[in-house]
């Protein structure tokens, strides 16, 4: 049963409706949750940088090993060496935060440049960039990274550069698509015939006004991927090494205990990964629907 009610009195115009009435509740929930996660991550990152932690993440307490959550002084319990899990989780964010931002920045920066070149100049440029895009897409990212690790050092920043570069094609193709779309709508022609000065200004019109939401959404996706990549690598043993905590290596370390029925050691970091990645995904999805107006029946 679906019900429809018409409002009594004057029927207003769409643009008059306040922001929260225009959008789907679902998208607001997505964005709300996503922003919550982002704030949490940034906040935790700051806590971690200034060492404002509940406890010392390296402090070993052999009397209190594998304590359950809720034990006094250890909100999320302790691991197999008696170290506080909550503090280790907070510090674990350090492992992916800045590298992730690097990956996102590289993807957006180069992606935009290439996308604009391909969309605006077209022709050979576009073919070349399409080729490079398909080329980069031919590699499984993890395998490529393992190759880089074998050839160079397992340095997380190198790795994030690779992650960023592998995302460049995606960003550039979205931007290129947007420019084609705008071209179709004679948007570009209009700008040129208005005698708008250099392309720089047209770029401002194209990029700032029309690609803003696109870039933000790609940033969320990129960050989610970077987190997944870092955690997977440290799980495999290639990232941050013990005793420095990273969510990935915490899951790995807890693996044996998992089989013994002591789930929490692996589950706490795994759930952190889950909720954080989910947060970025939903943020991107919600923003996409709100800003690009895809929903509405």
């Amino acid at each position: 049963m679906k019900s429809y009610t018409q409002i009594s009195g004057e029927i207003g115009d769409l643009s008059e409706l306040p922001f929260w009435k225009k959008t789907d509740v679902v998208d607001l929930v997505y964005v709300g949750y996503g922003l919550f996660i982002v704030t949490l991550v940034v906040f935790s990152y700051i806590l971690g940088t200034f060492n404002l932690l509940p406890r010392d993440p390296q402090e070993i307490d052999l009397e209190l090993m594998i304590a359950p959550p809720g034990t006094t002084g250890h909100l999320l319990g302790t691991d197999f060496m008696g170290r506080d899990i909550l503090s280790r989780l907070i510090v674990g964010i350090q492992a992916y935060f800045l590298p992730g931002l690097l990956a996102v920045f590289i993807a957006l920066f180069f992606g935009t440049i290439l996308g604009v070149l391909a969309g605006y100049r077209g022709g050979r440029f576009e073919t070349a960039i399409t080729y490079v895009t398909n080329l980069v897409d031919s590699f499984p990212r993890l395998v490529l990274i393992l190759l880089v690790i074998a050839a160079f050092k397992p340095n997380i920043y190198y790795i994030m550069i690779v992650v960023g570069l592998t995302n460049v094609p995606v960003v550039s193709s979205h931007i290129r698509g947007k420019i084609h779309f705008l071209k179709q709508k004679n948007f570009v022609e209009a700008g040129v015939s208005l005698g708008l000065p250099t392309r720089t200004i047209i770029l401002k019109h194209i990029l700032w006004h029309n690609c803003r939401s696109l870039l933000i959404i790609q940033a969320t996706i990129g960050m989610a991927e970077a987190i997944l990549m870092e955690t997977s690598l440290s799980y495999l043993g290639f990232g941050v090494q013990e005793p420095t905590p990273s969510w990935g290596n915490m899951v790995q370390a807890g693996a044996n205990y998992f089989m013994q029925g002591k789930f929490w050691l692996s589950t706490a970091p795994a759930l952190s990964i889950l909720f954080t990645i989910l947060g970025f995904h939903l943020l991107g999805d919600g923003l996409n629907n709100i800003l690009e107006g895809k929903r509405g029946k």
């Binding site: 679902v26 050839a151 799980y235 495999l236 089989m259 989910l278």
Partner: protein
């Protein structure tokens, strides 16, 4: 398909093959650059590894030395590879190509199996959402798939293993379970496929893409005509709304799934390419990791080729483009 349609299709396919070959060439070049730029000169090690016997290697080195200029190195390496010579593993001394292909088969099984699992879960949800829209049934399922897609696949693996070994007592992890281990050993091979299928993060994207595409197709004029004449909507919509989007998204996700395979093979100790890659990265075993990188790229491009074939077979206009 009619006979007259075959010639243009063949033309399109040869074009696709040519593009694939060009891309693979590019792949080899990228791999080459990475190895060439790395400190420690792995390249000479590689080239030496490509020569047949130890004596030949020693002898040749004296006489010819390893070629100096980068393009000469690239060329000799590439020619050797095209002849099937990928060098030998630093760790085991075994020829790389043969080893990689051997375990590559296991990874292929894992990859394709997991794709089927993903589709079995994602397709019904997507089609239902396209037909009925967001409602009490489709929304929780879609949300659930989002959550599942964000699950770290390694953790999912542990849960599944734990569940099967301890709760169901099915595994040869503990000795003495011989009879049930025999019976259920084959089930154990299904586990990583199941885990990768769910945990590779592609479920939510497949659902979203398929639902959007099928939804778009259902709103097309020709579907309205089909309805108006009382014909089966699916029969008219499946080509553009199902076949093409599914092959498209699956082909584009192959690299992603292969990446997930690396992790899953680790968790389950599955003897595949992924596990070998991990080992190679640990040991700095360049020939092996290089071979795996190239073979993975070949897999990816084969998937892409398959998708092109489906597209051309289904779309009467494709051969004219």
């Amino acid at each position: 398909m009619k006979l007259s349609a075959i010639r243009p299709i063949a033309l399109v396919l040869s074009r696709e093959l040519a593009i694939t070959a060009l891309l693979l060439l590019g792949v080899s070049f990228v791999v080459f650059i990475i190895l060439y730029l790395s400190p420690g000169d792995p390249f000479s090690v590689l080239l030496e590894g490509q020569m047949s016997t130890a004596e030949a290697r020693a002898g040749l080195r004296e006489v010819l030395g390893v070629p100096k200029s980068w393009h000469a190195q690239y060329l000799s390496w590439l020619t050797a590879m095209l002849q099937g010579n990928f060098g030998t593993s630093i760790r085991t001394g075994l020829p790389v190509l043969k080893e990689v292909l051997r375990v590559g088969l296991n990874t292929l099984v894992l990859t394709i199996g997991s794709m089927l699992v993903t589709l079995i879960i994602a397709v019904p949800i997507a089609l239902y959402s396209a037909a009925r829209g967001t409602n009490r049934v489709s929304w929780p399922l879609t949300m659930f798939s989002y959550v599942v897609s964000a699950l770290p696949v390694f953790w999912l693996g542990y849960i599944v293993i734990y569940f099967f070994t301890h709760k169901l007592g099915l595994f040869p992890l503990v000795l003495g379970y011989s009879s049930s281990a025999q019976k259920f050993g084959w089930l154990y091979t299904l586990l990583p496929i199941f885990v990768l299928g769910i945990g590779n993060g592609t479920i939510s994207e497949v659902i979203r893409y398929l639902r959007d595409e099928m939804g778009r197709v259902m709103a097309e004029d020709y579907i309205r005509t089909a309805r108006a004449k009382g014909a089966s909507v699916w029969k008219h919509a499946y080509k553009e709304g199902f076949l093409i989007p599914v092959t498209e998204i699956i082909a584009s996700k192959i690299p992603f799934i292969l990446g997930g395979a690396v992790i899953v093979e680790q968790v389950f100790n599955w003897q595949g390419m992924g596990r070998m890659a991990w080992q190679a990265a640990q040991d700095r075993d360049y020939p092996v990791i290089m071979g795996i990188a190239i073979i993975s790229a070949v897999f990816v491009r084969l998937g892409s080729l398959f998708q092109s074939i489906v597209y051309v077979a289904v779309n009467p206009r494709a051969s004219k483009e």
